[in-house]
Symmetry: C2
């Protein structure tokens, strides 16, 4: 099978720490990032795509975008030929697209374990966990504010999850750590508790710089300048507003050759028009402006076109997830990103449910399937998201992480060689026979079909005797099992020590801040 082969292959390295880690390779199995062997699903016609692209240019030229509290950005835009009035930047037709051309179409993000290095772009799909919730939920404890202890548990679960390629970023907000120091503990956790690639801080430019500096310790300073070791999340304040905090962080990352996801953040009907075409037009305009700006900071800065898009329930004003309109937007945005020649990001386990129940699963499954077929290259929130992003759920994390296996198998496509054609088996078995014992089945059954490591496949009577457990109960047990089985991946003690010293020094330099 493709993934197993890939795991055996020698991936390209990730600096000194990576080489050291490789010598003491960990035994936790992780599938290689997905390389699609299936087509993309495309809903927009050529006519529709051209309308959107022309309209996006019209928006940039006539309406423009705001770069807030950021004189340096305005200066860069002015020098590039934009019309700058106050904080409003109007961009001549075609200029933003031209600037985007220097952004690479594929990004290699190095992990300290080189087998976990990922490629973002082309036919690849990299799966990363939930990002941002202030609350956590589990079956026993219910919903509560997230802590650093929760954060570490999620990083460990991510490390142990076979189908998850990326450790993510703010897997939950550790609200018990001062807001100005959280990023240090979070990065430290990703760097030491996992060997998968991760994301940097974006909540202040200085925290982005801390992220770069800590990567310098982990990977070596020169290695960081030559290689992408972080992919960080820059949200647009939609509609069409780029604030100084996010842009300041983007500037730090671009200057240091680190990747950013430039994501319009849109609840359709509130931050964008209440139509798919209108929303796609605004998404494209915002992505063009933001990514073009990154190239003004440093041509060649690695960028991913993002789209956090969902719909709104006009009865209540609540955002709704896993909806058909969000699917249309994601399919369309994928097409637009490919025409721009840029990697594309979507969101995975989107749902609005309060519990990891059927609603959560329907909505999540819709989003996961759309992400695969939309040609997404980086799927954030691929597991663990609950309650519209307010909650990171332990049980949902392992449920979703299990479902991610279906995306791997779907992406394989269909083998058509002689063994796959199975003509000998059909001849051997004949009318009225069965295939369970035939030679072809014996030779192929082990890897032929995906199976869940979580779901109940037992007969009713066994299931009943075992307490009639639903998926949440099974997932709760799996969380405990995975955390119990967790072993920390090895890391050079000198690096461990240097990271701890850096975190301690930085923490001492600042008073605690909780807002």
């Amino acid at each position: 099978m493709a993934e197993a082969e890939a795991r055996g292959r020698r991936a390209r390295g990730g600096g000194g720490a990576a080489r050291r880690a490789e010598r003491t390779a960990v035994s936790v199995e992780t599938a290689r990032y997905i390389e699609r062997n299936i087509p993309n699903f495309e809903v927009l016609t050529e006519e529709a795509l051209e309308i959107i692209e022309a309209n996006a240019d019209t928006i940039l030229e006539e309406v423009g975008v705001n770069f807030v509290d950021n004189p340096a950005a305005l200066e860069r835009w002015r020098n590039a030929g934009a019309d700058v009035t106050g904080e409003r930047v109007r961009i001549p037709r075609g200029l933003a697209r031209k600037l985007c051309a220097t952004a690479p179409s594929r990004i290699i993000q190095r992990a300290r374990n080189p087998e976990r290095t990922v490629e973002i772009g082309g036919k690849s799909l990299v799966l990363a966990p939930v990002y941002g919730p202030p609350f956590v939920r589990d079956m026993e404890g219910g919903r509560r504010y997230a802590t650093m202890d929760d954060f570490r548990k999620f990083v460990k679960l991510g490390y142990m999850s076979k189908w998850l390629h990326h450790s993510g970023g703010t897997v939950c907000e550790p609200t018990d750590v001062p807001v100005n120091k959280r990023h240090l503990d979070m990065l430290h956790a990703h760097m030491t508790l996992s060997d998968k690639p991760f994301m940097g801080s974006v909540t202040e430019p200085s925290r982005a710089q801390d992220s770069v500096d800590m990567c310098g310790i982990l990977f070596g300073k020169d290695f960081v300048q030559d290689n992408t070791v972080m992919t960080s999340l820059i949200n647009v304040n939609s509609p069409m507003t780029f604030d100084d905090v996010m842009m300041g962080s983007l500037e730090v990352y671009a200057q240091n050759n680190q990747a950013c996801i430039l994501s319009p953040f849109i609840v359709g009907g509130a931050m964008a028009p209440v139509s798919v075409m209108g929303t796609l037009t605004q998404v494209l305009a915002e992505a063009l402006a933001g990514i073009a700006y990154s190239q003004l900071v440093r041509p060649g800065a690695p960028m991913i076109m993002g789209a956090f898009v969902t719909s709104i329930d006009m009865n209540s004003g609540a955002p709704t997830f896993g909806t058909p309109e969000a699917a249309h937007i994601t399919y369309g945005a994928g097409q637009l990103a490919r025409r721009l020649g840029l990697p594309f990001r979507s969101s995975g386990s989107f749902n609005g449910s309060k519990l990891p129940d059927a609603q959560a699963a329907y909505e999540t499954s819709n989003s996961l399937n759309v992400g695969l077929l939309a040609g997404v290259n980086f799927m954030l929130h691929a597991c663990g998201w609950l309650e519209g992003g307010l909650v990171s759920s332990f049980e949902k994390f392992v449920m979703d992480a299990d479902q991610l296996g279906t995306l791997h198998h779907l992406a394989r496509g269909i083998e058509i060689d002689e063994n796959a054609q199975a003509m000998d088996a059909i001849r051997e078995v004949g009318p009225g026979g069965h295939y369970l014992g035939c030679a072809h089945t014996q030779a192929n059954f082990k890897n032929a079909f995906w199976r869940s490591d979580l779901f109940d496949y037992k007969p009713f009577e066994t299931w009943s005797e075992e307490g009639e457990r639903d998926t949440m109960v099974l997932a709760n047990a799996r969380v405990k099992k995975m955390l119990g089985d967790y072993t920390q991946p090895p890391l050079d003690p000198a690096i461990t020590e240097a990271l701890e010293a850096f975190v301690a020094t930085r923490k001492e330099s600042m008073p605690d801040a909780f807002s």
Copy 2:
């Protein structure tokens, strides 16, 4: 919106009863069958398709298929040019495909309410409920043998479900009615408790004849000969075996111009090879043989190419649902059916869970999405299926029926006219504004986004105060509400009386049989 317009349109009629029903039109809203305005997703290359087609012909020619206990069928095949040895029928290359050419590519199935008439074929998708389970489950009563009372409740729920186009057939097995009389009560329920199209009995040729005769009463005898008013399910006893009961029923329906779904019934690895290509080859060979046979019975008999396909958990032998391999097979079978020029059937709410929980929803959602994108024309089991088809679940029925709305909205595709482009809205709102109050939003919000009628979109606090209900609890309340709101659609009293007399007479003519 397309569906609303369609509902207003005058659909073509369904005989005398239909015209009478129309004059006293019921108020229960039902969406018109889906007409896709999106592409199909195709995973098989031209090369793969040609290999499968050539291999299927090889199977038919070299291995052949069995027609069991059916001398008339063997005689028909012999006359058509097949090589018949014992019960084995070997079909010369190309003959089966040639015979299939007389089957129509589109089928109009009339309902007694002409607004509920459906078209099966081309870009259409007709959604029908769960078929066949001997058990039912609801939240209070748990799992138990199904009764006629349960059956009637499911027919009522189907009638009340906006996104469901079809009343189905054996929505559960009414085990409290003698097995030789069940079909009479079941058909009576579909005919009188709903005005949507339905399926006939296939468990004995005489019961298929009873189905035709009862339709003669409902629609008029001549109308039935000129129009398709039933779509019935003929399973192949895979691999490659056609038994006399199913074929006898098919013969009755073909002779009476009624549609059948010819469905290979395959758990991959048991009834077909443990590979996607091998399974598709066998599916195609079986479909070709069965549908060709229907055309020997009556050229032009309306047929649907089916595929009940799922994978197996090789650890336990349990069938598994909503898996990536089942998706590949469904996508591929859709392509093969289109190349044959025949309508295509898949299965919707497939899952192996014991409860309507997250597992059930993940697996179901996978199957529903695949069905839409595979170009399916008739989706059986679109709602209500649980526990690998052993159970019809009341709560799951309304959960799935609600999700079917997402398929309707996805299938609409993306509008690209000036209103959809929303340039005025983007200009009006500008950077930093919001769209909630703008003119475009006010004019479009009502139909822009799909919303669930079941899911919880409330704020956490409200949800918490209301008892922290999960989807199953919400669905349980919805079942009760729908059954409480149910009103029987009007039917000519003379027809009601004649149907009852027919059922009574037929029941009196037979002793009770329970096996």
